[in-house]
């Protein structure tokens, strides 16, 4: 297990390094460099940067150096000072922009993921055990609706229902009266309440997919001889269900960790726009459209790193949960 972990981490570090190089080249891709953009911006404002100023800036970002030195300066800034560069669009350091949106996004995506797990776990098991029953058909129907209706449509519908029938304002982080308020129990409750609907909307699509996967996997496991064998030794139905087949069918749940983390950043752009949620998705979109390369590149880098981390976490979790993965990771080769 330790060997496996070390090997897995080693590979992921290599992957992250390669990703950072790709991101660096994406940032460098548009014509002109960082300083020339600054000069152009200053001219627009009617100012003029002195030659000395320009030289200082060029030196600061190592623009007079070859590309690998520039890469090194860039990545060193990120590693040591968490300095992702400067966003021209926002006229602020990219780090500030990211940090403004990231925490809430993680909160929302994490909430959506947990919601997804709970719903999919319960309904997945139910539909697999009671296959072809009325309940199965009902949830299957519901699942397919969740799968096929675009999330932003759901968001609109939810907004309408919430407003028309419950008088709730869906959208944004807080209800109007709490936006400027100090932190208090009531404000936290309001935040949770406002989070619940978007989390539910984002969770729907993932839930529907996961229910189908769980149902299919568990259906396969339920007829395995080891289930019959457990029954034959006199184990109770509920205990043996959760202990044996469900345990074996859990792997897709663990795998979702891998792809849930990247969706934290990039996912749900439209839903966030519709619900005017301050998540990173719309910011990334804006950065890409405006060629705000440092911000976009930073997002891409964070996205890539999170994807790798997510995969590593789900791999390690899988190995921890499944002895077949844990104890067999050597293969025959020529």
């Amino acid at each position: 297990m330790l060997q496996y972990t070390i090997r897995r981490l080693g590979w992921s570090l290599l992957t992250i390094w390669l990703i950072s190089i790709v991101c660096f080249f994406i940032i460098q891709a548009p014509p002109g460099d960082f300083v020339s953009v600054l000069i152009a911006q200053a001219e627009e404002d009617g100012r003029r940067l002195s030659a000395a100023q320009i030289d200082v800036l060029r030196e600061r970002y190592a623009l007079d150096q070859p590309w690998y030195a520039q890469y090194f300066t860039w990545i060193w800034g990120i590693l040591t000072e968490f300095d992702f560069g400067y966003s021209f669009r926002w006229n602020r350091p990219a780090t500030d922009v990211i940090m403004e949106y990231l925490p809430f996004t993680i909160l929302l995506a994490g909430g959506a993921m947990i919601l997804t797990w709970f719903i999919a776990f319960a309904i997945g098991i139910y539909t697999a055990v009671k296959r072809y029953s009325a309940g199965d058909y009902f949830f299957t129907f519901l699942g397919f609706i969740g799968l096929s209706v675009p999330n932003f449509v759901l968001a609109l519908v939810f907004m309408y229902i919430a407003f028309a029938f419950f008088g709730m304002t869906v959208g944004g982080l807080f209800s109007p009266e709490y936006v400027e308020a100090d932190w208090s129990v009531a404000r936290v409750l309001d935040l949770v309440q406002n989070l619940a609907v978007p989390a539910l909307i984002i969770a729907t699509a993932g839930t529907a997919g996961l229910i189908r996967i769980t149902r299919a996997n568990l259906s396969d496991e339920l007829v395995q001889p080891y289930v019959v064998a457990a029954r034959a030794r006199g184990q109770r139905e509920n205990v043996l269900l959760l202990r044996y087949p469900v345990r074996a069918a859990m792997n897709p749940f663990i795998s979702t960790v891998g792809y849930a983390i990247p969706s934290v950043i990039s996912g749900e752009v439209i839903v966030s726009s519709v619900l005017s949620l301050p998540t990173t998705g719309p910011v990334l979109l804006g950065a890409l459209r405006n060629q705000d390369m440092y911000l976009a590149g930073s997002f891409l880098l964070i996205l890539g790193v999170l994807t790798v981390i997510g995969t590593v976490i789900s791999d390690l979790l899988l190995a921890w949960a499944d002895p077949r993965v844990r104890r067999q990771h050597s293969g025959a080769t020529e």
Binding site: Q3, I6, R7, V223, Q224, P225, Y226, V228, A229, A230, R231, A232, R233, G234, Q235, R236, E237, R243, Y244, R247, A248, D322, P323, R324, R327, Q328, S330, G331, A332, T333, E334
Partner: protein, 691 residues
């Protein structure tokens, strides 16, 4: 149905008059309602299992054996249900309980399961949860039926592993099922089944998935436990050899009905029912002398009722189609085995490197095939036997060049008068060779493409053959010059089908429309389509039922006679090999340990491993089987990466001496046409199969 009439003569005679049955099955009917029709899996079956008896329930696949047992424990898979009948179980307190009336998931049934009746299954690999340790699963049963605490139960589980003779039980208890050998898994299953100290053990084909040596060990263990614990066993099997070895009473089942019930010696000596006679006739018995074809006897009682709903059982169509019966393949005498070998293997080695450890730096080299010398002579059947994992299939793959040998030579005289080397030949030059050396596969279901019709399946090798002829010609195409480049006409395909006992009408059907035996016939037709000289049959009949197997074996014998084929017949089933082969090669851990003419090998083995294998094969005759001198089979096949030094068999050999650890014995002449790789081949007096 007429043959449903129960032949019960003698059944009562064998029963101890004093005791009442432990489990009395009366008129049991099990139904599976499906959307199209109602399938009756068990049809008014009567059976009585007495205390301390081994009751064998024998029948072919789909006969309802397992469903009978499962019904008793309320373990029928949905939508199966007990439609009628009683399952009277005599509890230890003297009360009689009808298991058929219990709720399958109720508390009382759960007490019966494991507490009164234990059960072990066919596939130990899949009957243990891969996510939990073996110790955990045994301890679970201990806690359920002995009311032990978690810690006590685990200790009891370790003890139970020791009881089923697993070495180092503390260590094994912590192992996951996939880390144990098949034999150990089945021992662990037995430990689970015995945890609640049941009075009846249901064993559903417990040794079918195991090697013959492991089977012998497990059967021995079951016998010991049965007498130790004074338990009754309901033993479900299709193998009459196992029946002869284990049974006190036998019930024969066919198409859901019990057609005969007899004491074991009487059943074998004087079977009452036609079906029993057919089964007995179709089972190779390690015969005393060459006899008439198996299928002749196998199909004698082909009554109208033989056609069961699921097309299994007797492969009827084939028997109708077959030309007048040919004799059984007569074994060629050693002096008849002459001529230049068609394929000659020298020093063949196929090794794999296993990586483990950090960055895969620890490497184990596994020699799946290790320095093998072998000849296939014209017209002979060479049997290749050995436990699973000994390299039989890898050797076959090397011959076909599906695997590329690591070293050694394979010289063939199939495509040309002059010997040609194929072990390292480029892929492109192998086409003609592969048309002369063809393969029949084990799995009749997996080896035919379900999306191709029989026509496509048979035409495929012919199409490639034509391409081969065209491209191999020196410029000018001469389609008439060679018979092999005839166009692929329907007549040609029908001819092939009729050769294997199928009809023209089958040409446009898909594989799923055929039974297992028929599919294997299609597989054979495909193999002989290119008119090859050598067929490699890798466990080609292992997946088939007894009666169907006999027919396919006879077909192979006929084809050999009419087409002068040579066979490399790979099998773990010694009695089938004995039935078909002229010569036998025995393989152990990648090495050939003995080759000999069949009769000589079975009568007087020269290598201790051969003796072990022979001793492990149960002979389908209770008198012979029970009077045999048994050779203790010690240990299991070692991990191939940890092959013992010197003689690979020395770790399990009862004659091993110091020299065996230091010197690897080479295969050497030990008699006419015989070779053995043992230092003491001449001195040892080994036990063959009693004749």
């Amino acid at each position: 149905m007429s043959e449903a009439v129960l032949t019960e003569t003698g059944a009562d005679a064998a029963v101890p008059a004093s005791s009442s049955p432990l489990l009395d099955i009366r008129g049991l009917t099990v139904e599976f309602p499906t959307e199209e029709k109602l399938v009756t899996a068990v049809d008014t079956a009567d059976m009585a299992i007495y205390p301390q008896q081994v009751h064998c329930l024998v029948g072919e696949s789909g006969s309802g054996k397992s469903q009978t047992a499962r019904a008793a424990l309320g373990l029928l898979d949905p939508p199966g249900r007990i439609a009628s009948g009683q399952l009277l179980f005599h509890q230890s307190d003297g009360q009689v309980l009808d298991l058929a009336t219990l709720k399958p998931r109720g508390r009382r049934m759960r007490h019966i399961r494991g507490g009164e009746i234990g059960m072990i299954f066919q596939e130990p690999a899949r009957s243990l949860s891969p996510m939990h340790t073996v110790g955990f699963q045994i301890a679970e049963a201990m806690r359920l039926h002995r009311g032990l605490s978690r810690a006590e139960a685990y200790e009891a589980a370790v003890d139970a592993l020791a009881d089923v003779k697993i070495p180092r039980p503390e260590l094994r208890a912590k192992a996951y099922p996939f880390e144990l050998s098949g034999g150990m898994r089945q021992r662990a299953m037995i430990a689970i089944a015995l945890a609640g100290r049941p009075r009846l053990l249901i064993a559903d084909e417990p040794t079918t998935a195991l090697d013959v040596t492991t089977q012998a060990q497990i059967l021995q263990l079951l016998r010991d436990i049965q007498s130790e614990r004074e338990m009754a066993i309901l033993f479900i099997t299709h193998d009459l050899g196992v029946v002869a070895d284990m049974a006190d009473e036998v019930s024969v089942m066919r198409s859901g009905q019990i057609v005969e019930r007899q004491e074991v010696h009487r059943l074998f000596a004087a079977p009452e029912h036609d079906y029993t006679r057919m089964l007995l006739a179709a089972t190779p018995k390690l015969r005393i002398k060459p006899t008439e074809p198996l299928a002749d006897r196998a199909t004698a009682p082909s009554t109208p009722g033989a056609q069961s709903a699921d097309a299994e059982g007797v492969d009827k169509l084939a028997t109708e189609q077959q030309a007048p019966k040919q004799r059984i393949p007569e074994q060629l005498a050693p002096e008849q085995l002459t001529g230049e070998p068609l394929i000659s293997v020298r020093g063949l080695t196929r090794s794999f490197t296993l990586k483990s450890g950090l960055l895969g730096r620890t490497r184990h080299v596994l020699h799946a095939v290790d320095d093998v010398d072998l000849d296939i002579l014209p017209g002979e059947t060479l049997g290749l036997v050995g436990e699973s994992g000994c390299g039989k299939s890898t050797l076959a793959k090397c011959l076909l060049r599906v695997e590329k040998p690591s070293s050694g030579t394979v010289t063939q005289r199939l495509t040309d008068r002059t010997p040609t080397e194929v072990a390292a030949a480029p892929e492109a030059s192998l086409r003609a060779y592969r048309q002369q050396l063809r393969m029949v596969f084990q799995d009749p279901f997996g080896s035919l493409n379900p999306r191709m019709t029989v026509r496509d399946i048979l035409a495929e090798p012919l199409r490639h053959q034509q391409v081969a002829v065209r491209t191999s010609g020196t410029g000018a195409r001469r389609p008439e010059a060679q018979g092999t480049s005839r166009p692929i006409t329907d007549e040609r395909l029908v001819e092939l089908l009729e050769l294997v006992g199928l009809q023209a009408g089958h040409l446009d059907r898909y594989p799923h429309a055929f039974s297992g035996g028929q599919r294997q016939r299609i597989g054979i037709a495909r193999a002989i389509a290119t008119d090859p000289q050598v067929l490699v049959a890798d466990e080609a009949v292992s997946a088939l039922d007894v009666s169907v197997r006999a027919q396919v074996l006879d077909l192979m014998g006929q084809l050999q006679d009419t087409r002068g084929l040579s066979y490399l017949f790979i099998s773990h089933d010694m009695s089938t090999v004995e039935h078909l082969s002229d010569r036998v090669a025995v393989m152990y851990l990648g090495k050939l340990v003995e080759t000999a003419p069949t009769a000589a090998l079975f009568a007087e083995p020269k290598h201790p491993y051969t003796e072990t294998l022979l001793s492990a094969v149960p002979i389908a005759d209770p008198v012979r089987q029970r009077s045999r001198q048994r050779v203790e089979i010690s240990g299991e096949l070692p991990d191939p990466t940890k092959k013992p030094s010197g003689c690979p068999f020395r770790s399990r050999c009862r004659f091993a001496e110091e020299i065996c650890a230091t010197d690897t014995p080479a295969l050497r002449d030990v008699g006419p046409g015989r070779e053995a790789a043992c230092h003491f081949a001449e001195e040892l007096d080994l036990t063959g199969v009693a004749r």
